[in-house]
Amino acid sequence: MQLTSDELLRAYRTMKSIREFEERLHAENATGDIPGFIHLYAGQEAIATAVCFDLGTRDHIGSTHRGHGHSIAKGCDIRGMMLEIFGRRAGLCGGKGGSMHIADLDHGMLGANAIVGGAPILAIGAALTSKVRGDRTVAISFTGDGGSNQGTVFEAMNMAVVLKLPCVFVFENNGYGEATGASYAVGAPSIAGRAAAFGMPATAVDGTDFFAVHDAARAGIARARNGEGPSAIEATAVRFHGHFEGDAQRYRARDETANCRRSMDCLSRFRGQVTQSGLVSPGQLELIDAEVLALIDSAVSGARAAAPPAIDDLLTDVYLAY
């Protein structure tokens, strides 16, 4: 355990915030008050948190349709996110984007992306900016197991190798792309192995283990910062909820999610690891739990009370000048 207790608490706060955010959205969504579709990240918190742990505000990430966790881990304002998901004017994107398009360029968050496999080609662009300016920032893309098969993702990896771009391709293998199993849709023996064949270091890690992901991410980020080029990480994970809220999930064995929650919960695993190490006490974690709960509560009540966009907003923000 190379992290200080303050750092461990910071990591825990992030993971717990994501978990609480998502579980609460699950409940709120059932009331019918959230417009559209939401895809929950619960179960995968260790990945976003560990990957973003060493990033600064000026580093960039590109995300997926399942982007809440990445956004929180990258430092986006939780109230702003909640407002956005409820379609409010004060939301991070003025209510124009919603869950699938949360972005926050001031925090280096290039956007959730409703096009599967959308992030890698954008992330290499952010990495190019870094290379041209020589500012030692890095860019990270998140992609699912389903998205890992998209042609654009492979193109991005090749381009990154050719131009030696400072980026890391993170693949979150949660076993499913919608209802289709990764074991079916990924023809290759492994996503990491396929990435390695593009000419970069690639590691496969247990994505329910914060520390394993963090080690891999730290190595990839250091490599990128030092101008040594791209690398890839495949992190296996579990999706606690359906593909989207409303998904009956009958394509999963009846007790699959329950089992996952019992035996593969990254959050309880982390809790165990850090309390056993003695660096952190259960009481410290409980304090964070309470603070996080209060924050999410207030984010939800704030979002519920907030005003929708004004009708004139329809026509703004298309161009800077037209």
């Binding site: 417009p35 559209g36 579709f37 379609g87 409010r88 004017r89 994107c93 209510g95 124009k96 984007g97 919603g98 699938m100 398009h101 992306n113 409703a114 096009i115 599967v116 496999g117 389903g146 998205g147 098969n149 998209q150 042609g151 654009t152 499913y176 792309g177 919608e178 209802a179 289709t180 199993g181 990764a182 074991s183 079916y184 849709a185 990924v186 023809g187 009956a248 999930q249 009958r250 394509y251 999963r252 064995a253 009846r254 699959e256 929708p308 966009p309 009708i311 907003d313 329809l314 026509l315 298309v318």
Partner: protein
């Protein structure tokens, strides 16, 4: 005749044609309900429920779950169509054409011409369009104007369950590549739909309301708005004729011009785009070929030149709707 949903009508059309012709195959993401899961087979029944149950009758050899690689889906469909099968490939949302346009635009649509008439590409791409689902900018578009502009493609826009079945059967039996656009907000609409197979020929508009005062051309979901406004205006003795082209390529321009020749007035309502829309295309054709019949300016009721917004209040304002249509009609009476 039984009342069926648009979704069910489409499902029946697929089942009919798969039974009838062993060369018909279906491919797309989760169309077989999701392969490789740990639970039930066909649990998903296709992303929008249209292909539900087909895998049980026809098997995984003909109802093919694919990875999320739309270019490979469309290319594979084009390749198997030109070598003898009749694929029905599903593109979950039409918005995703961005990742798979080439096999449609530069390949399937052009084979016959480029190869001097020697290719046949009986491909059907089924896809979904439409705002109103609160799915925001990348899942709500209706880019059928784009497909309409591509020579070699046929473009089909069923506005109701009855048409959906007949047009899909025609699409599958058709020897040219067909883009078949289903509106997300129509899946649960119902109509009388015969159990047996029937075809609706392409290039034949339907007149859903007859009237002598003004012609409204509407497609897909917009037909319902047009009918609604026509019914409402009847109370004021304003007789609106509603023309639903059903296919934008080929386009039944004759029926439109005939109607405009009678009414002298034309309003178009169209969800495709603000610029270079199908409505603008039809308006231009009328302004060229039936100019003298026109007694008033043509009116276009279109979405604004913006992406589709997320917040319901904005999205509702985005969609060309009955209120704007009615105002447009009144403005030229």
């Amino acid at each position: 005749m039984a009342t069926k949903s648009y979704r069910q009508a489409l499902n029946e059309a697929l089942a009919h044609e798969m039974r009838r012709d062993p060369d018909v195959v279906i491919m797309g993401e989760d169309v077989a309900g999701g392969a490789g899961g740990t639970g039930e087979v066909d649990a998903y029944g296709g992303p929008l429920g249209v292909t539900k149950g087909l895998i049980h009758e026809f098997g995984a050899g003909r109802v093919i779950d694919t990875p999320i690689t739309e270019s490979a889906i469309m290319g594979m469909a084009a390749g198997c169509a030109m070598t003898g099968l009749r694929p029905v490939a599903e593109l979950m949302f039409a918005d995703f054409l961005g990742v798979c346009l080439d096999p449609i635009y530069n390949q399937a649509a052009k084979f016959r011409y480029m190869f001097g008439g020697k290719a046949r590409t009986p491909l059907v791409v089924r896809t979904t369009i439409g705002a109103g689902f609160r799915a925001a900018a990348q899942h709500s578009q209706s880019p059928y104007h784009l497909f309409t502009s591509i020579p070699g493609l046929k473009v089909v826009l069923p506005s109701n369950a009855y048409d959906a079945k007949g047009l899909l059967i025609q699409a599958i039996r058709d020897d040219d590549p067909v883009i078949f656009l289903e509106h997300k907000l129509l899946y649960d609409t119902v109509a009388e739909v015969p159990d047996e197979a029937y075809v609706i020929p392409f290039g034949e508009a339907a007149i859903t309301r007859t009237g002598k005062d003004v012609t409204v051309v509407a497609m897909s979901r917009m037909v319902h708005f047009a009918n609604e406004v026509a019914d409402r205006l009847l109370a004021e003795r304003i007789a609106v004729e509603v023309v639903d082209p059903r296919t934008t390529s080929p386009l039944d321009l004759d029926t439109i011009i005939e109607s405009v020749s009678k009414t002298g007035r034309l309003v178009l309502i169209d969800e495709s785009a603000n610029r270079c829309s199908v409505a603008a295309d039809i308006a231009a054709l009328v302004a060229e070929h039936a100019f003298t019949a026109l007694k008033a300016p043509i009116r276009l009721v279109l979405p604004p030149h913006t992406p589709v917004p997320f917040a319901p209040i904005l999205e509702d304002a985005y969609i060309p709707g009955p209120a704007r249509l009615e105002a447009a009609i009144r403005s030229i009476l």
